[in-house]
């Protein structure tokens, strides 16, 4: 298979290094008061949006392999864990800086506000995936069991995209575009590749 050298030559740590640049940038600018009039909003929304982008990147790995013959499987764990780091930072920003640990209001938010409920559900679904993102867990769970567990990422990403859409007023294009991308990436997984069927026959 023709495979560009770049895809295989890049070490995994480089993906982490590049992937966390936006987070460092956001925090540096937030703490140096360089995020405009409402730094909290830019920080909170920015971290959330990057989480969604990396989740989508992780979701794109399989379709890229199947339909474009680009093999990024080696980096999928890094993409997923970077996404999870952004999710955690996004959640901490919400709890500490936005709601300032007013647990009463946070509790009410989680119960009463569908976009917060869905966001929390997405986070909870991602926790076991992050925890089991290592060789030890794959061995422990068995390849099939591990893969079954990690299918949780599909509802989690979908929940993340809906979380964004439910937050906005009117219908600005960005959350709709993210949701469409997620739906396409989930949808193409249902296409049975003719090639594989032939190879199996």
């Amino acid at each position: 298979m023709a495979q560009s050298k770049l895809w295989t030559a890049t070490p995994e740590w480089a993906v982490y290094a590049v992937g966390l640049v936006p987070a460092v940038d956001l925090f540096v600018r937030a703490f140096s008061n360089a995020l405009g009039a409402d730094p909290l909003r830019v920080l909170e929304n920015g971290l959330g949006e990057w989480a969604l982008r990396f989740l989508i990147a992780g979701l794109a790995v399989t379709p890229l392999l199947r339909f474009a013959r680009i093999n990024l499987v080696k980096y999928r764990r890094a993409l997923g864990l970077i996404a999870f780091i952004y999710v955690v930072l996004h959640l901490l920003t919400y709890l500490a800086l936005d709601k300032q640990f007013f647990w009463g209001e946070i509790g009410k938010d989680i119960i009463k506000r569908p976009y917060i409920t869905i966001g929390m559900v997405a986070f909870l679904m991602l926790v076991p995936l992050a925890v089991t993102s290592n060789r030890y867990s794959i061995r422990k769970l068995g390849s099939a069991g591990w893969r079954k567990l990690h299918r949780l990422v599909y509802p989690a990403v979908l929940a993340g995209a809906i979380h964004y859409l439910l937050l906005v007023k009117a219908w600005p294009p960005e959350p709709i575009i993210y949701l469409l991308i997620v739906l396409v990436l989930l949808g193409v997984r249902r296409i049975k590749p003719a090639r594989c069927v032939r190879a199996a026959a």
């Binding site: 937030a30 703490f31 008061n33 995020l35 405009g36 009039a37 409402d38 730094p39 909290l40 909003r41 920080l43 800086l97 936005d98 709601k99 300032q100 007013f102 209001e105 009410k108 938010d109 009463k112 506000r113 569908p114 976009y115 439910l166 937050l167 906005v168 007023k169 009117a170 219908w171 600005p172 294009p173």
Partner: protein, 314 residues
């Protein structure tokens, strides 16, 4: 008949207008001396509006011009908070007239130049509470709407006032984006007693200067006890009606945005709480503050809504 209880300072506390004008002339002279009559001083003179203070102003510290002009919603220029600042420069605000019609005996137009010269411009430092649960303190320069309305001679049947924003896709890109975020033109409305209330103004400036385009130049409504979206920007039409006029966000989503849209911490937006707000300008660690009923203007406006169920008529 509702009774307005707005602040009435004793006569002894009101600075006589002549003293204000003297002070102004003195300051202008001092500024002229300091700047040595440079080009800067003359251009600054053109931008500055002549204003008088108002007893309706809050003594809270106003947000900076950068905050107010850099962080706002004006969907005609995009949905991002920074979009208006980025794109509103294209808007031409001269010539500009407001067409006044509907149930009046004396329909006509208001020219922005007349608005700036024929009326006493007041500094009105108001709290502004956005429906998105953030707030600012804005030092508007404006004219009580009631004093402008009077000369058009309202008919007895007029119960509401309808407002309309400019439609000019060549200068307001989001009106012609192929993707319609809101129905244009942006329209808003007030009940007549709300419109005539002394707190309600048409603003032509802020921080003592003419309005930046992104804040609704050249003339916009300001109703400080309602969520910000009621304070319609860049107005080209005012008409008086018997029926409740349409309001853009109410059309967009009637379950979430009522016609009245009074600031009310006890009525949550269906998707988020309105109990507290973030005051813009305090940086990353700014404390949340509790939202006040009618945005803190209850003493002046609560009587307008006597007997109304504000949970239903939100």
């Amino acid at each position: 008949m509702p009774v307005y209880r707005y602040p009435a300072p004793p006569a002894s506390e009101i600075t006589p207008k002549s003293a204000i004008l003297n002070r102004r002339a003195f300051m202008a002279g001092a500024a002229g001396l300091a700047l040595g009559g440079s080009a800067l001083s003359s251009s600054a003179e053109v931008m500055k509006l002549k204003t008088v203070p108002s007893a309706f102003s809050t003594d809270e510290k106003p947000n900076s011009l950068d905050d107010i002009s850099g962080y706002c919603n004006f969907y005609e220029f995009g949905t991002g908070k920074g979009d208006p600042a980025e794109y509103a420069g294209k808007l031409t605000t001269r010539p500009w007239t407001i067409e006044v019609g509907g149930l009046v005996n004396n329909p006509g137009v208001i020219d922005i130049e007349d608005l700036l010269t024929d009326y006493t411009l007041e500094d009105r430092i108001y709290r502004l509470r956005c429906v998105e649960a953030w707030s600012m303190v804005v030092p508007w320069v404006g004219i009580p709407l009631a004093s402008i309305i009077d000369k058009f001679e309202l008919q007895g049947s007029a119960k509401y006032v309808a407002f309309e924003t400019l439609v000019r896709p060549s200068e307001m890109w989001a009106q012609d984006a192929g993707y319609r975020v809101l129905p244009w033109p942006y329209v808003e409305g007030l009940r007549l007693d709300e419109a005539m209330h002394p707190l309600t103004i048409l603003a032509v400036g802020l921080h003592g200067e003419v309005l930046p385009n992104q804040n609704g130049a050249p003339v916009r409504l300001v109703v400080p006890w309602k969520y910000g979206f009621k304070s319609i920007k860049s107005i080209v039409k005012i008409s008086f009606t018997e029926e409740e006029p349409p309001a853009t966000w109410n059309i967009q989503n009637p379950r979430e945005y009522g016609f009245y849209s009074n600031v009310n911490p006890t009525v949550d937006h269906p998707r988020w709480s309105q109990a507290s707000e973030r005051r813009i300008g305090g940086g990353l660690f700014a404390k949340r503050v509790e939202t006040q009923m009618f945005n803190g203007y209850g003493d002046q406006v609560a009587s307008l809504y006597d007997g109304m169920d504000l949970k239903k008529l939100f």
